[in-house]
């Protein structure tokens, strides 16, 4: 029997088992692995001796697909990676293209504020999924139902703005595209914020003794571990490192809004819970400020960059204006064509740093595309921190790292 690689060798060794220890397959259908993650766990009694994360069950080849689609067609693929926060993924992709084209500074203020608001709304939606399922794994049913109720309202707001709930394909290169919003949407966002009931879920879980017992001092990640594994997002902020791309490298309108980055130093599951919970309150603050700012902007303020090689002309002009028609046909057939070169751009997704790396050869399709997905990087820590914990705690650890398998496998 030939051994394919060191990793496969180690896993086969683990699967064969050693001595009296029990080998447990958790997943890929286990509901608490939040998708199709398979964990091969060696158990001594109830204690985890070794843990091996096996992934790839949801591999769809998104990076390769991005290379055979034009830049616009790729938008539809990005919201299928981290399907809990589609608009945020779309924005990371679009902003990476904008950086490649060198038009980042030309994006109008209206589009920047709307992107910020929508990214924070999708952060709330993603964190509600996490809050609900994390609570559910530990045994809190009400938090799950209430979380999904709040998330449903956010998805309705997405539907109002762009027409879809999950696979949003939100915005286009150079601005908001066809998805600019009016006062009605802003009213609805404000109505949502006024009726937002995170406090109730907070009251259910944060001081609950059962919840604290299950999460405190479980799955400890030290600062050194967090840095050496390259973790990002709430996981690293739960270990006492204040690293947030929204503050470190402000993009969109994050330099224009006022918010704080919650940091907790304990490094356990409870600290990561508190980080995300406080982030949700901060997101609410940011959305409120963005709505105010969007209201202050005049309705006829541009929402797309004024570059004919990026943004198509008004469709009403196309049948009657020769230049507009040529422009429109050129843009649909060849797409936006960034100059040859390469660029990397990362934004703070709900899970951590989501980055897109593009190599352009000057045509309408990227020559090479790589996605730096936060879930994939954060997943690697699970193997190390679950060793020594109880089998029931592994569920809490997976929940606290908050992975989405669609993004891990891409």
């Amino acid at each position: 029997m030939t051994v394919v690689s060191g990793v496969a060798d180690a896993r086969m060794d683990l699967e064969r088992g050693s001595g009296d220890n029990m080998i447990l397959n958790m997943g890929p259908q286990h509901p608490s692995t939040h998708g199709v993650l398979r964990l091969v766990i060696e158990l001594d009694g109830e204690e985890v001796r070794r843990c091996d994360a096996d992934m790839g069950y949801l591999h769809r080849g998104v990076e390769k697909l991005l290379e055979v689609h034009d830049y616009r067609g790729g938008i539809t693929l990005t919201d299928r990676m981290d399907y809990t926060s589609g608009p945020s993924n779309n924005m990371a992709y679009l902003m990476a293209i904008e950086k490649l084209m060198g038009i980042t500074d030309d994006i109008p203020l209206r589009a920047r504020y709307l992107r910020t608001a929508v990214a924070e709304l999708s952060r709330l939606a993603a964190h509600h999924i996490w809050l609900g399922t994390h609570g559910l794994d530990i045994g809190a049913m009400s938090a799950f139902l209430w979380s999904l109720r709040e998330r449903e309202k956010i998805l309705y707001l997405f539907e109002e703005a762009c027409g879809a709930r999950l696979t949003t394909s939100f915005m286009r290169v150079g601005g908001t595209g066809p998805h600019d919003v009016g006062d009605q949407w802003l009213d609805n966002v404000e109505a949502f914020l006024n009726g937002y009931t995170l406090d109730e879920i907070d009251a259910l879980l944060t001081e609950n003794e059962v919840f604290i017992e299950r999460t405190r001092d479980v799955g400890l990640i030290t600062q050194e571990q967090a840095l050496s594994y390259g973790l990002t997002g709430p996981v690293i902020r739960g270990s006492g490192i204040a690293w947030d791309l929204r503050k470190a490298q402000p993009y969109a309108a994050y330099d224009l809004v006022d918010f704080e980055v919650p940091v907790f130093t304990e490094g356990d599951v409870y600290a990561r819970y508190l980080v995300r919970l406080n982030e949700m309150y901060q997101s609410k603050r940011i959305i409120g400020q963005c709505v105010e700012a969007l209201r202050d902007l005049p309705l006829d303020a541009p929402s797309n960059v004024d570059l004919p090689q990026v943004v198509p002309p008004d469709i009403g002009r196309v049948p009657v204006d020769m230049e507009a028609m040529i422009n429109h046909f050129k843009l649909v057939m060849h797409g936006v064509q960034p100059p040859p070169g390469e660029s990397y751009f990362g934004i703070e997704n709900p899970k951590g740093e989501l980055g897109f790396y593009f190599v352009s050869d000057g045509t309408g399709m990227p020559y090479r595309c790589h996605v730096r997905s936060p879930s994939f990087v954060n997943l690697s820590i699970i193997e190390e921190i679950s060793v020594g914990s109880l089998i029931a705690d592994v569920v809490a650890i997976i929940g606290s790292v908050d992975i989405v398998l669609g993004e891990v496998d891409r």
């Binding site: 689609h69 034009d70 616009r72 067609g73 790729g74 938008i75 539809t76 693929l77 009400s142 109720r149 449903e152 309705y156 539907e159 109002e160 703005a161 762009c162 027409g163 879809a164 696979t167 394909s169 066809p178 998805h179 600019d180 919003v181 009016g182 006062d183 009605q184 949407w185 609805n188 109730e200 009251a203 259910l204 879980l205 944060t206 001081e207 609950n208 003794e209 059962v210 919840f211 604290i212 309705l299 929402s303 198509p312 008004d314 469709i315 009403g316 196309v318 049948p319 028609m325 429109h328 046909f329 649909v332 057939m333």
Partner: protein, 163 residues
């Protein structure tokens, strides 16, 4: 804090919300409001002059589609003008991104709110232009009842919400 006070706080919250109206919409009997921009099945507008498809066969939708959903077959008349032989739309592959509608230069492709796409046969998902006209006109008839849900947000001028 005494042990159990956190659990009691949760229970108190539970009691406070017991009288609240349930958020659930019982789907097959009730439908929730669909927002104006909802992306359902793509429809086709009927041309007032010819009575057939408005499509001129430029093929932009075919190009813009990221999933090869659309196929437009065209032929030439004797005088050199073009006409559409056949317009095929494979709903089974469609991801409802509406890039085709954004691309259409003559407003032929149209938004509908039709999301009941169920068939008992996969071939039922491959529809042609006539069927798309039917879907669009059926949706327009239903839209009258829906008008009250649209609200002033729809008045926003952009190239998507036109006509």
């Amino acid at each position: 804090m005494p042990l159990g006070s956190g659990v009691m706080k949760g229970l108190k919250t539970m009691l406070m919300v017991t009288g609240r109206k349930p958020a659930t919409v019982l789907y097959p009997e009730q439908l929730r409001d669909i927002s104006y921009r909802f992306r359902g099945q793509v429809g086709m507008r009927r041309d007032e002059v010819t009575g057939g498809m408005t499509c001129v066969g430029c093929g932009l939708c075919e190009t813009a589609c990221p999933n090869d959903v659309i196929r437009v077959d065209t032929s030439e008349n004797e005088d050199g003008t073009r006409f559409v032989d056949r317009y095929l739309f494979d709903v089974g592959r469609c991801v409802f991104c509406y890039f085709c509608i954004e691309a259409c230069p003559v407003d032929a492709l149209q938004r509908t709110h039709d999301f009941h796409l169920i068939t008992d046969d996969r071939r039922g998902l491959l529809i042609d232009g006539e069927k798309m006209i039917e879907i669009y006109e059926h949706d327009q008839a239903n839209r009258e009842a829906e008008q009250k849900n649209i609200g002033p947000g729809a008045a926003l001028a952009n190239w998507f919400e036109r006509g």
